[in-house]
Symmetry: C2
Subunit: 213 residues, 2 copies
Amino acid sequence: MITVHGFSPSGNCHKVRLLLEQLGRDYRWIETDSARGATRSPAYLAKNPNGKVPMLELDDGRVLVESNAILCWLAEGTAFLPHDPWARAQALSWMFFEQYSHETYIAVARFISGWTPIDSPRRADLPRLRERGHQALAVMERHLAQHPWFTGDAYGIADIALFAYTGVAPHGGIDLAGYPAIGDWLERVRRTPRFVAMPDPDPNAAALIAASS
Amino acid sequence: MITVHGFSPSGNCHKVRLLLEQLGRDYRWIETDSARGATRSPAYLAKNPNGKVPMLELDDGRVLVESNAILCWLAEGTAFLPHDPWARAQALSWMFFEQYSHETYIAVARFISGWTPIDSPRRADLPRLRERGHQALAVMERHLAQHPWFTGDAYGIADIALFAYTGVAPHGGIDLAGYPAIGDWLERVRRTPRFVAMPDPDPNAAALIAASS
């Protein structure tokens, strides 16, 4: 049995849940509220010194961290990761793009909007984060104008990785109206078999999001 | 023949050069000065809309971007990337760690120190970047206290990815003296066959680095 230590509102964690659901795998989910310090306990840091979720744990105690590395491991040998080396490398390329040029702006803008106090000094970063988030979306839009997916010829883990925070970009004040190909792709992802949506923000986060836009 | 579009002082680009040299592969290197806008030309953006180096190009015009995805593709089927899925996933995990929790602080502190004007407002970020860089180094130190490498049981692409900016962290004002296991690992990497060092900063960058520390 696989155990996932994850925070449900986190897109990085939802990636893992979505793939496990779509693979039909059994797993146990341990809710781990990283916004309230649950990844900073000595017990957690003993397993993951970098203090982040998600973390995948096997029954023998071995752990694997970094959401996109977890996706790769789970997808190995399945249709969610191409076997062809070039197609596989392109999927990985999009997953590194996601972590470096996309998550760092779109996910962070969302987190600041919904999960920090309304007077947090971090809110001063929002305009720059939104601008950079739009740059990432423009790169995606350009790809999607010519290709249906980010994982070779079919839906797979690069799509799951990019879907996670793109679908909720408006929570961070990043409007998707100007990206029709992204909008179509989001709908295609939502129609894949066994798709599960990320939970809506709790009332407190929803109120902060509404006040931030 | 492989063509690499790269900026020699960039650690992300040096990763690709180091692996190609260690694999003994023939390649062509096109120097691309990203600090002076060479990745923002229309011709470059037509190949890589994200406007970054390195970019690998094949003779038929296909391109692959993201340094760590390039490493994975080049290493496929070689001793630089484990075949065992769990070991491979752990290597990928370190490579995602590198791009998200390491490069973003250690490489950025170095870039600001050496490649922005001495009165750049970005220099106000240096204390925070250095603090987060030390957090990444502490995670690496802890791993290296128990394991000789980051790529399974042997030297490989996760080591190359992490070596690139760790070895030059002092350029960004991040002292490595407190990390003896990292120091030993850096020396082990430098003694691997066909190792090539990153070029020293040019005199202008060296003067800025000296003035920043």
